[in-house]
């Protein structure tokens, strides 16, 4: 594209600058900083090694890949350059994971079963750098397939390596192996918080949002209440609920049977539900309020009853915006549910706080990474649903 300016000198475009920055960061963290930490056992400190120290020639190959990505950002490389650097970034991710796994296996074999090989900050930053390069390539990928080709293969292959046990000698997966039972339970709890709170918030949010949009007298109270809930700090909010929830559990046997008490899942669930309610209710409300007036006027003029208008015209048109609200709520809830562990409500936060107590980074990461992965998956799938609905409603690609 317009890679040369009218003065005749070659100019860099925005995506190329970003791609170069990513490639430079990748090369930098490959050359310096802790890529791997090799320790004799879980507690003792060990060697913090750079990629070059850890892999030898393998690291030079990585540096070569980063250089290739840099070259694919040079002026005049255009769309081909973008596709090349995107694919090379995916390759680099997979190669660095393979190198790390191989070095870890060798280290554990050599130093005994209690030895630990942990991923260092430079390794994580190199994944970040690869993401930046991929991100810089996306705007130039014109078709949906091209975008998928540039963004997915690395992640998919790493997931494949993970699930086929190729990475099992890494310390984080050793932590998983040791804590598998409590991890699996915590993961299910975390998911239940997200799905439960978001699901119930969707039902209540639809009612409250429709109510506020149709009845101006409800609007003020609904949003004033939700806003207070939104502003309260999460830990304080849980704290404020401990007493009333405890009272409910003591005085209503039915609730007690469900496990409602001052401590445990109940106060956390109410907090998550309140947080999730705001984005959903707000999006239901604003999407109904901002509908094209001519459409609602036409629906009324054809003799649709209010309830028919709501279900056949208004809510379907509002649907993509409502889904966006659900997405925001689900992502917020997934992150906030980490607090449940503080009041005995379980979830992945348990693993995280366990790790904090032992200053065991790998255990903390074992709790944090699934939370982030869960959020990103929810975010991506709901975005996908949103686009699908939008395109279907607007009559295919336009």
């Amino acid at each position: 594209m317009a890679s040369s300016s009218n003065t005749g000198t070659l100019r860099l475009s925005g995506d190329q600058i970003v791609g170069m920055a990513g490639a430079l960061l990748g090369a930098l963290v490959t050359a310096v900083g802790t890529y791997l930490e090799l320790r004799p056992n879980r507690i003792l400190g060990g060697d913090s090694v750079t990629a070059i120290a850890a892999f030898g020639p393998g690291a030079w190959a990585l540096l070569g890949l980063w250089a290739l990505m840099f070259a694919a950002c040079l002026p005049g490389t255009g769309r081909t350059g973008a596709m090349v650097r995107g694919l090379v970034a995916n390759t680099t991710m997979v190669v660095s994971v393979l190198l790390v796994a191989r070095r870890a296996t060798a280290f554990v074999a050599q130093s005994g079963d209690v030895a630990r090989a942990s991923l260092g900050i430079s390794f994580w930053l190199s994944l970040g750098a690869a993401y930046i390069v991929i991100f810089s390539a996306l705007p130039r990928a014109k078709s949906r397939n091209a975008r998928a080709l540039v963004s997915l293969p690395g992640i998919v292959m790493i997931a494949g390596l993970l699930f086929t046990g190729q990475l099992n000698s890494l310390s984080i997966l050793v932590e998983y192996a040791v804590n598998a039972d409590s991890f699996n339970k915590a993961l299910v709890q975390q998911l239940s918080y997200t799905l439960g709170a978001t699901g119930i918030a969707l039902v209540i949010g639809l009612l409250a949002g429709v109510g506020a949009a149709k009845n101006p007298r409800l609007e003020g109270p609904v949003f004033a209440t939700l806003n207070i809930a939104q502003v309260l700090p999460s830990l304080s909010f849980i704290g404020l609920l401990i007493v009333p929830m405890g009272w409910l559990g003591l005085n209503f046997p039915a609730l007690k049977a469900l496990g409602v008490s001052g401590i445990g899942w109940a106060p956390v669930f109410v907090v998550l539900l309140s947080y999730a309610l705001y984005p959903i209710t707000r999006n239901v409300y604003t999407s109904l309020k901002t509908l094209d007036e001519s459409i609602t006027d036409a629906a009324r003029g054809m003799g649709m009853k209010p309830i028919q208008r709501l279900f056949t015209v208004e809510l379907p048109l509002a649907f993509p915006v409502i889904i966006a609200g659900v997405r925001i709520a689900a992502v917020q809830t997934t992150a906030a549910a980490i607090l449940a562990a503080l009041v005995g409500g379980g979830g992945l936060g348990q693993i995280v706080f366990f790790g904090v107590q032992q200053t065991a980074t790998d255990l903390i990461l074992l709790g944090v990474i699934p939370i982030v992965a869960l959020s990103l998956t929810i975010d991506a799938s709901l975005r996908f649903v949103e686009t699908l609905v939008r395109t279907a409603q607007e009559g295919g690609l336009t």
Binding site: S13, G14, D15, I17, V18, A21, F135, P139, E219, G220, P221, F223, A224, N227, I228, Q230, V231, L232, P233, S234, L235, S236, F237, I238, G239, L240, I242, V243, G246, G262, I263, R282, Y285, T286, V331, Q332, T334, A335, A336, I338, L339, L342, V343, G349, V352, F353, G355, V356, T359, A360, T361, I364, L365, G367, V368, I371, V372, S375, L376, D379
Partner: protein, 237 residues
């Protein structure tokens, strides 16, 4: 956040909340009697190792220092992103910000503990990371929201880029930038509560102590003032 659907500034109520907060902090014995009245079965009413005034002080320093750092860094980054060179990175920054949304703030504190140790340092770093975003994004949004016609008109009167920025763009962007600062402070004051988890003090300390020892009065001793603090900041700014 950011939107303010349904918020009406009610000064009498805000003044009452401020007065109540000052009273709790200064007359700790009185606040203890109130907690005792609310929870007649409880014997431990107040956190014994620190006074509420100290905890409040720690809390405000944590939030204040992080907020000030975040303001400076956020404005600087925001201004960099609106320069022609920085504009290339804008989408990337927004994307990283979205990624940051999925990352619980406690997780950042937790991961910093092995590196920086327990105490205020990991908390300030985490608070700054989370508070920079609303400031930076609102600086960008505020400047971009200025109608191009106005910048054009300013250029037409012979203002240079610097004059246009100072006399037209910045003043018109101010409301949005200040909205970001307010959000930032609400986030900082709220997240400072979490500092207690990694030993940084603040109003989270009695909440955590109460939750660990099943003493609801202690939980309320921290939860009530920190909730008031967040609400007051949200309603006054």
């Amino acid at each position: 956040m950011g939107e303010s659907l349904g918020i009406r500034r009610n000064w009498p109520i805000v003044s009452l909340m401020i007065a109540a907060l000052v009273w709790m902090t200064l007359d700790q014995a009185g606040f203890g009697r109130l907690l005792g009245f609310l929870l007649p079965d409880e014997t431990t009413l107040l956190y014994e190792r620190e006074t509420l005034a100290t905890l409040m002080g720690q809390h405000l320093v944590l939030a204040g220092v992080s907020g000030a750092l975040a303001l400076v860094i956020g404005v600087a980054l925001g201004l960099m992103l609106i320069t022609p060179a920085g504009a290339s990175f804008r989408d990337l920054v927004v994307s990283i910000a979205n990624f940051g949304q999925t990352f619980p703030s406690i997780a950042v504190m937790a991961l910093l503990v092995p590196i920086m140790g327990y105490g205020w340092k990991p908390v300030v770093v985490a608070l700054v990371i989370y508070s920079v975003l609303p400031v930076m994004l609102n600086v960008v949004a505020g400047i971009e929201n200025v109608p191009p016609a106005m910048v054009d008109a300013a250029q037409g009167t012979g203002m240079n880029a610097r004059q246009r920025f100072l006399a037209v763009q910045l003043p018109l962007a101010m409301p949005i930038i200040l909205g970001g600062v307010k959000n930032m402070l609400v986030i900082a004051v709220g997240a400072a509560t979490l500092g207690a988890i990694v030993g940084a003090g603040g109003l989270g300390v009695p909440i955590m102590a109460g939750a660990n020892q099943f003493k609801p009065a202690l939980v309320l001793e921290g939860a009530i003032p920190s909730a008031f603090l967040a609400l007051i900041i949200d309603r006054t700014l």
